[in-house]
């Protein structure tokens, strides 16, 4: 099963928890909002990603199942 990270930018208030819990994939921009470096979640990080999503105070981080291999480059 492959997973993809997506940020709901309307819900996101820039708490930055995701970047602390998932620094391998998420960086913060100069204003404190998350930049998803690669949408596809490596298999070893899926549990971490789910924990980061659950820890987001505004539930703005989404870990979504995808059917195909993750070729997505669009940043969230």
């Amino acid at each position: 099963m492959n997973y993809e990270l997506r940020v709901n930018p309307i819900a996101c208030a820039g708490h930055g928890v995701c970047a602390e819990l998932l620094p391998e994939i998420i960086e913060l921009d100069p204003w404190g909002y998350p930049v998803v470096m690669s949408a596809g979640v490596p298999h070893g990080l899926v549990e971490h990603a789910k924990r980061a999503a659950a820890a987001c105070p505004t539930l703005a981080l989404l870990v979504e199942k995808i059917n195909s291999e993750p070729p997505v480059t669009r940043r969230g």
């Binding site: 930018p9 309307i10 921009d29 204003w31 930049v35 669009r74 940043r75 969230g76």
Partner: protein
């Protein structure tokens, strides 16, 4: 009906203009004028041969794409709304957000019945039970004229699905389709996070067809004259005609109906040609791109070619920038405007666009001691793709195209300060902030 009258209703295959054929220079086309030119609204759905799905097939075969900016295939959109559960909703988007475009306003003020025919046909095709026509709420005169046109039709029972007029806020992103849907649902006219998209869950949670009013006008003609007639204009890959608003340094600015695929330079020539030596063309509007005048001249006006050139067809806008103007200063003003028009919802857009506008203003008016170009490029990359709607992406695309089209100029600005053109009066229209009205 006499044979002669019928022939008048069937225009010769390649006669242009099509959508604008019935335009009068001084008056709105009444229902009588409209029916005299085109005949009555074709009755799709009266017999089995003309069932709702048949109209969708014809639109599909015509190759019509959305004329509001995104260029999505209209037939496919109709089909996905029609396939949704239960009764659907049709929304005609006549709230022209692009300051440099006035083709939708021209259609609505001069040829309202073509648009209204399109709404009724689309409502029939997707089995809608309600339909809306949205224009900017501050356009009270237009709202009044459209109400009169609707009353004319109501007397003859032309629209089985009643068309409701709605005034929506005049902000730039308020006419984005998810923003219109949220507004019609009683919320603010701001874009929403997707999915769900309007065709899945739109007005009152129903599958909703949101189409630009020009798209619906083309649909009204396709329903009368067929897909082969439509395809006789334009390219096989981009059939039909489109309305283009041509302005800037041209001799006859205005709205022109062009075949898709017409070179941008030929569109400029339709508008009387350049009034001054041209430096660049802004094609597609404020989410479009600057093309240097030389290389931009032969670029075909269609979605694929303009995308390949790093821009977009958008709502068919062409602005000619003369060499006496400064493209960087023009871009800086537009980005400042777009920054002020953000919906205040997404952090990267809320903070990133003002920062991008500051950096563009530094480059245009101050000179950046050699660092401004890089800062502009970095900020454009940082906001791109990070909003709920395409607002930041459009701004980033415009900025990147400015850095390409005015590359030598940008380096000179950065190292030695602004050129004389930066002090010239603004060319591109930048409306006032429009207050804080989202509701």
């Amino acid at each position: 009906m006499t044979a002669l009258a019928l022939a008048a209703h069937r225009p010769a295959e390649l006669r242009l203009p099509r959508v604008l054929a019935g335009i009068s220079h001084y008056d709105v086309a009444s229902l009588g004028d409209h029916e005299e030119r085109y005949g009555p609204l074709p009755s799709w759905g009266q017999s089995g041969r003309r069932r709702p799905g048949r109209l969708i097939d014809v639109v599909d075969a015509s190759g019509l794409t959305g004329r509001g900016g995104a260029g999505f295939p209209t037939g496919r959109k109709l089909r996905s709304v029609a396939a949704g559960p239960g009764a659907s909703v049709v929304v005609a988007n006549g709230a022209e957000g692009e300051p440099a475009s006035c083709k939708d306003r021209l259609l609505l003020t001069r040829l309202p019945h073509l648009v209204l025919d399109g709404i009724t046909l689309a409502a029939h095709a997707v089995r809608a039970r309600s339909a809306y026509l949205c224009v900017h709420g501050q356009e009270t005169e237009l709202l009044g004229a459209l109400a009169d046109a609707l009353a004319e039709r109501r007397a003859l029972d032309l629209d089985p699905v009643p068309i409701q007029l709605r005034g929506i806020p005049g902000r730039y992103v308020a006419s984005e389709q998810s923003a219109i849907v949220q507004y019609l649902n009683g919320g603010p006219a701001k874009p929403t996070f997707s999915p769900p998209r309007p065709h899945q869950r739109g007005v009152r949670g129903r599958p909703t067809l949101v189409n630009n009013v020009e798209t619906l006008a083309h649909l009204a003609l396709i329903a009368r004259f067929g897909d082969r007639w439509f395809r006789a204009a334009g390219l096989p890959s981009a059939p039909g005609t489109a309305l283009a608003t041509v302005s800037g340094a041209v001799r006859r600015p205005g709205v022109y109906e062009i075949e898709l695929g017409t070179p941008a330079g030929q569109v400029v020539m339709m508008a009387g040609g350049p009034a001054e030596r041209p430096a660049a063309l802004l094609v597609g509007g404020y989410f479009g791109a600057w093309l240097p005048a030389g290389p931009g001249w032969p670029v075909p006006m269609c979605h694929a070619a303009l995308k390949a050139a790093g821009g977009a067809m958008g709502a068919g806008i062409v602005v000619v920038l003369p060499v006496s103007s400064c493209g960087l200063a023009e871009t800086a003003r537009v980005i400042r405007y777009l920054a002020g028009q953000n919906a205040g919802q997404c952090g990267p857009c809320m903070f990133g666009l003002p920062a991008l506008a500051d950096a563009m203003a530094d480059l245009a008016y101050q000179g950046g001691r050699g660092r401004a170009v890089e800062r502009v490029a970095t900020l454009a990359g940082l906001v791109d793709g990070r909003g709920a709607c395409r607002h930041p992406d459009g701004a980033a695309q415009l900025v990147r195209s400015a850095l390409r089209a005015f590359a030598a100029d940008a380096l000179r600005h950065d190292q030695r300060g602004p050129c004389p053109g930066a002090a010239r009066a603004p060319l591109l229209p930048v409306p006032g902030a429009g207050g804080r009205d989202w509701a």
